[in-house]
């Protein structure tokens, strides 16, 4: 862990930029959150643009009886001819009548609803009373003016935290925070059991009525890097953070588990015994994708806040050279463990001016560009290999068993370029 010597006082160089941002808004989080919380419904209060965004992002999933929709604000709502509160109540009531299986209804704020100052928090309380607390009704904002892409999950989870039951003591409970694929959660549960950590909860839980308790006996650890508001909300409930790098890659996952085990006072020799097999397996599996990635230069555009842990993984475990690591927002406290592991000369960029960043990308001539779908094909046409970044949010990438899959996501575009004769 030689790179750990970088002191937090001397962080890597950062370009801070403002300008056009080529990013999703927080509403997009609904697309994976509604798969995660199986009895929740997400009702966006917004415009036709919001509905259009959701259907563009959700693709074909929109027809599998999805549990999200948009209440589109119309001209008559704005002209004051229709009382917005009454309209919202009418839409929500009709929705719940159609879907009585829903146990948790999220009212999700958008740019239009925020600009006209529609109070969704009050609406949620009003509706919850009307429904007799079944379903529960919560509000959060996924607006573009307030949130970037994965920050929508942060806003959703931080709205959940005040509603969680108080955790009984005195036994210390572990709370893993951030939506993970079921298969990853199950792997993590098995490893926690093997380590001897008795009580482990996950936030969000798979069902609304099974959300974990929280309190001063809770030690929480983030499984995703973009959960700053949720972390603050948990600390307000007395929970204490376990600082750890993100569980990406063999090294990242090992350090994550080691940090947790240390917080629970587990004998390092035992931890080593439990982790050595999956670490060896993950390291071995990484060999093939690493062979394709080592020595190649990568440029990451800002998207999800996963960029810094991903860059750490690509540099340290795949031997890639970082040209620029963009992130929409940098929470220096939560990101400290990952930042400490980045190569000391890594160029970070927080925020975005997409035209200037494209200029820098072209000048850097990277072998691989990690970017959104709006930029990917245009950059391919300019001769760059790209990896579209949204897949990193939708695929299971955390944990030991997924380390090689994660590397393969980056290796595949390079392999394809080598393969094609067109």
């Amino acid at each position: 862990m030689s790179a750990c010597t970088t002191s937090p006082a001397a962080p890597p160089a950062i370009i801070a930029e403002r300008g056009q941002r080529e990013v999703f808004c927080g509403l997009t989080g609904i697309v994976w959150l509604h798969r995660r919380i199986q009895d929740a419904f997400f009702l966006v209060v917004g415009s036709r643009t919001c509905a259009h965004l959701l259907q563009s992002a959700a693709g074909v999933m929109i027809f599998a009886e999805p549990r999200f929709a948009t209440a589109i604000i119309e001209e008559r709502d704005l002209a004051g001819r229709a009382d917005l509160d009454d309209e919202l109540d009418r839409v929500a009531t009709r929705l719940i009548a159609r879907r009585p299986d829903i146990r948790l209804l999220f009212l999700v704020g958008s740019c239009p609803s925020e600009v006209i100052r529609l109070d969704l928090g009050r609406a949620a309380a009003r509706l919850e009373e009307r429904f007799g607390r079944s379903p529960r009704v919560l509000a959060y904002s996924g607006s573009g003016i307030g949130t970037t892409f994965t920050e929508g999950e942060d806003a959703c989870l931080s709205a959940l935290v005040p509603t969680l039951a108080p955790a009984p003591g005195p036994a210390t409970r572990l709370l893993v925070v951030g939506a993970l694929a079921d298969v990853v959660e199950d792997q993590f549960r098995r490893l926690f059991a093997a380590l001897g950590i008795a009580t482990v909860d996950f936030l969000p839980a798979r069902r609304a009525d099974a959300m974990p308790p929280v309190g001063p006996f809770t030690r929480y650890v983030l499984a995703q890097p973009f959960l700053g508001e949720t972390a603050t909300a948990l600390e307000r409930r007395g929970a204490v953070q376990i600082a750890a790098p993100c569980p990406l890659g063999a090294e990242g996952t090992r350090l994550w588990f080691e940090s947790i085990a240390a917080a629970f006072g587990i004998d390092p020799a035992h931890v080593d015994g439990v982790l050595s097999l999956p670490v060896r397996r993950a390291t071995a599996a990484l060999a093939a994708p690493r062979a394709r990635l080592a020595g190649r230069r990568v440029f990451l555009f800002p998207d999800s806040q996963l960029e810094i842990p991903l860059a750490r993984f690509l540099a340290r475990e795949c031997g890639m050279i970082l040209t620029e690591v963009g992130t929409p927002f940098l929470n220096r406290r939560l990101m400290a463990p990952d930042l400490a592991l980045l190569p000391a000369d890594a160029q970070l960029a927080e925020g975005q001016d997409v035209a200037r960043q494209l200029d820098r990308c072209r000048a850097a001539r990277p072998d691989l560009v990690v970017c959104g779908l709006g930029l990917a094909n245009p950059l391919e046409a300019e001769g760059f290999a790209t990896k579209w970044s949204i897949e990193l949010v939708f695929s299971p990438i955390q944990g030991f068993e997924q380390a090689a899959d994660l590397a393969a996501l980056f290796a595949r575009p390079l392999a394809r370029r080598a393969l094609l004769e067109v």
Binding site: D77, C111, I145, P378
Partner: protein
């Protein structure tokens, strides 16, 4: 408020983007919050464009709302001009910026740029995508032709403009190519094709043509109306989609141009003969439901009834602006039109009409799939597969050929249907076997118990033989991915097959079904090679690591 899950059209600024992206040298500066750039990927992914749309966004955030959003907009306009040096710019607001009431037109005018800067007012809470496209194109045409006097066309050879094709238009690329080729066969010159492929300067040349061919009234109707009023140009309003409509189109344009079309032109299309050939007899009276934009819905209704011989049981559109012509068309078929942008209403209408074929948009494709009805996509909104690589017009005589194939392929062909009748009780040909385009999941697999014992056993045995003797490589692409892996026997020698522990079996179930079979086989090979029995969760992941190394 309207509760919406799926919307047929985007907001009006998406329509403006479709115009800007279709053209050269026109840049769009959109006052919009962070996140609205999602629209870029419609063009880069669905239409697979190789460059970014010519659109700059202010992408303001909450912290900008204090009062400097106007300055943000001015900066965006200035930066866009400096970087892209367009011939002309359009400026406007998306739905949220409409609420904060900065004035894009006034702000941009204040910058004194040396190019036309055209404000487009798109009421986002009233109007939708197609309206936005039509309005934007109209504003561009109006500005480009401002101050021109109606030209004296009498001495010039007859020529036309082709108006309406845009970016993200359903088959627009190929329709234009075929119609331009058809006009060339008629000896009629094309003056300007717009907006697709046109520059701003090209728009200034529009008045020189004698007539405007309005290929898609949804996007070009407003501009064509203006050109007719302002410059006295004729409007050719027959949309050449379908064999009969293309014949009528040729007649209309030949009349205007005072030419005689070459004989046998319509015979270049195979639709007529294919439709008369005996294999098509079974198509007679098949019940069809049609929904889409007004242009395609009306055109396809004529093709389906008069040219294929279907019976029309439903006709509708999501374009409220074009409700009247669709109502009139429906009335001429003795049915009532469905005018709705609520896909649940469309679903209900389809379920009630019980058609044998649905022609519609991407949404109707999904509705039909759910209802188990064959379907073809004939209108936007469409997904990436309906922006094909191959030449695939809907307009003109080649378009009629494409339409025949498009409307017929979802149905079972005549001979197939005949066989189905003959072998009704056969286990492979039964009433519940859905058309192949619906995928194997739509087909109810024959119950093993109901199949005749001897042949079924023989089939299963042959399958086992094949699987057991097939070389199973690491990258075996021939794995029967669609088969339920539980039913696929992997080992002939049951004794040597490793046993799966329950938790390992449960873990395997978490792998997506379409690769599960491969994962099972690889794990068993791995286990057998190492003498591991039973298979545990660890074995699965050891095998996974082994095969990915």
């Amino acid at each position: 408020m309207q509760l919406t899950l799926w919307s047929y059209e985007g907001p009006p600024h998406i329509g403006a983007m479709r115009i800007a992206t279709a053209m050269h040298g026109v840049h769009y500066v959109l006052h919009a919050p962070q996140g609205d750039t999602y629209a870029d990927l419609l063009f880069t992914m669905i239409e697979r464009r190789d460059r970014r749309p010519p659109v700059s966004y202010t992408t303001f955030q909450a912290r900008d709302l204090g009062g400097d959003t106007a300055e943000l907009f001015r900066t965006a306009v200035r930066d866009a001009y400096d970087r892209f040096r367009p011939e002309a710019m359009i400026v406007g607001a998306s739905c949220t910026a409409e609420l904060i009431q900065d004035d894009p037109g006034g702000l941009a005018a204040g910058l004194g740029l040396p190019i036309p800067v055209i404000p487009v007012e798109l009421p986002a809470y009233q109007r939708k995508e197609n309206w936005g496209a039509a309005e934007t194109f109209y504003q561009l045409v109006r500005t480009a032709t401002a101050g021109q006097a109606p030209p004296d066309r009498a001495a010039q050879p007859f020529c036309v403009n082709i108006l309406g094709p845009t970016a993200l238009g359903f088959r627009h690329r190929d329709d234009v190519r075929d119609i331009a080729a058809l006009l060339a066969r008629l000896g009629i010159a094309v003056n300007v094709i717009a907006p697709l492929g046109a520059s701003f300067a090209d728009l200034a040349r529009l008045p020189a043509a004698h007539a405007n061919l309005v290929l898609y009234p949804e996007t070009a109707g407003t501009a064509a109306g203006y050109l007719a009023r302002r410059f006295g140009q004729k409007t050719i309003s027959t949309v050449p989609i379908g064999l009969g409509a293309t014949r009528d189109f040729v007649a209309e344009i030949a009349g205007l141009a005072q030419i005689t079309p070459p004989p046998g032109l319509a015979e270049e299309s195979r639709l007529g003969w294919y439709s008369r050939s005996v294999d098509s007899t079974y198509l007679t009276g098949k019940r069809v439901f049609i929904f889409g934009d007004a242009t395609h819905a009306i055109a396809l209704a004529r093709v389906a009834t008069a040219e294929i011989g279907f019976s029309l049981v439903g006709l509708g559109t999501y374009s409220r602006e074009f409700a009247a012509p669709v109502r009139a068309a429906a009335q001429s078929y003795g049915i009532e039109a469905l005018i709705s942008d609520d896909y649940l209403a469309v679903e209900a209408a389809i379920a009630a009409a019980q058609p044998e074929l649905v022609l519609g948009t991407q949404m109707e494709r999904h509705i039909a799939k759910r209802l188990g009805i064959p379907c073809a996509v004939i209108s936007a909104p469409a997904h990436v597969q309906d922006f094909p690589a191959r030449h695939s017009p809907f307009a003109g005589f080649e378009g009629a050929n494409v339409l025949f194939d498009t409307l017929i392929h979802p149905l079972m062909m005549g001979l197939e249907e005949h066989l189905l009748g003959m072998f009704r009780d056969d286990f492979e040909f039964n009433d519940t076997a859905a058309p192949s385009h619906l995928g194997p999941h739509a087909t109810t697999p024959p119950e093993p118990a109901s199949a005749a014992p001897a042949p079924a056993g023989a089939t299963a045995g042959a399958l086992a033989d094949t699987l057991a003797s097939a070389p199973v490589g690491r990258d075996d692409a021939s794995a029967p991915v669609w088969r339920d892996e539980a039913s696929a026997p992997v080992w002939r020698d049951e004794a040597s097959a490793p046993v799966w522990r329950d938790d390992a079996e449960a873990e395997l179930r978490k792998i997506p079904f379409f690769v599960r079979g491969k994962a099972r086989r690889n794990t068993e090979i791995f286990a057998r090679e190492r003498g591991l029995n039973p298979i545990t969760i660890e074995t699965i992941y050891d095998a996974k690591a082994h095969f990915s190394a």
